[in-house]
């Protein structure tokens, strides 16, 4: 990520775009934890409420999109901070590869939860 695959300007443009999309989905997430379709935070955290959202196609899609956007935005943000500390070929490559893999792991691990519920899994 970053060195050979895409120009830095494109990566930063994506950083802005994902940030704006995260703002919208984050607002929905915040509302869903406090007042939207629930009466308060405690009710939002009930097992039935959480699983109900994972098994609803609209909620699950929104969560998956939120996760994907966050995985990019967070780990590209970390990458930019780490590259500011030091610049040389090896460090740049190590940071790019590590952040890409870390973002991928978070995306896949979060997707696993959503996907398993959508496929009828869970206890």
């Amino acid at each position: 990520m970053g060195v050979d695959v895409m120009r830095e300007s494109t990566l930063m443009w994506l950083q802005y775009i994902t940030g704006l999309a995260i703002l919208v989905l984050g607002a929905i997430h915040f509302a869903s934890l406090t007042f939207f379709q629930v009466s308060n935070y405690d009710q939002a955290l009930l097992y039935g409420t959480v699983v109900g959202r994972y098994t609803n196609i609209a909620w699950a899609s929104a969560l998956e999109l939120f996760l994907a956007l966050l995985s990019y935005h967070v780990f590209n943000g970390f990458r930019v901070i780490l590259l500011e500390l030091r610049q040389d070929g090896l460090w740049t490559k190590a940071v790019n590869v590590t952040m890409f893999l870390a973002g991928l792991v978070v995306l896949l691990y979060g997707t696993r939860t959503i996907a398993l519920f959508m496929m009828g899994g869970g206890a």
């Binding site: 802005y16 915040f30 097992y47 040389d88 691990y109 979060g110 519920f117």
Partner: protein
């Protein structure tokens, strides 16, 4: 400069972000923006692991939620909520400023050479976003402490 030469940022991590030489409101907002982003980013990793507990079953989930229902954990959540709201709203201000919105027009440099961008409408926007952030933090406090922990409703 040879391509292989290592360039180190001698300003360091957090110390560098917050080492603001001249009083510059926007510079402080940017340092806080980064700190808030790192906090939320690290929380994402913990949150992904936490929510995967639902796959184990209702007992595991309820047990995790019970473990996290205490003043220390809710204070942590309040800090994360504050960081997320601040990072999001200040991010909009940065996006607008980077796009040239609210930073004024270039003027002839005259003493005391204050950049027009630091006195233009983006600064008002910053205060509006800070006010909204504070309101949302109060609402998060209401949900996390007054309702969830103290059971006022």
């Amino acid at each position: 400069m040879p391509a292989s030469k290592t360039i180190r940022n001698m300003r360091g991590w957090l110390a560098g972000w917050f080492r603001v030489v001249q009083v510059n409101f926007e510079r402080w907002l940017y340092a806080l923006h980064r700190l808030a982003g790192v906090i939320v980013g690290l929380y994402l990793i913990a949150h992904i692991v936490e929510t995967s507990e639902t796959l184990v079953g209702p007992e595991a989930w309820d047990s995790t939620m019970a473990f996290l229902k205490n003043p220390a954990a809710h204070t942590g959540l309040l800090i994360i909520a504050a960081a997320a709201v601040y990072h999001g709203l200040n991010g909009v201000r940065l996006y607008l400023a980077a796009s040239g919105v609210g930073i004024g027009r270039p003027v002839r440099p005259e003493w005391p050479y204050t950049p027009v961008s630091l006195t233009s409408s983006q600064r008002n926007l910053a205060w509006i976003f800070i006010a909204v952030t504070v309101v949302l933090i109060i609402y998060a406090f209401y949900q996390l402490f007054m309702i969830s922990l103290w059971g006022w409703m």
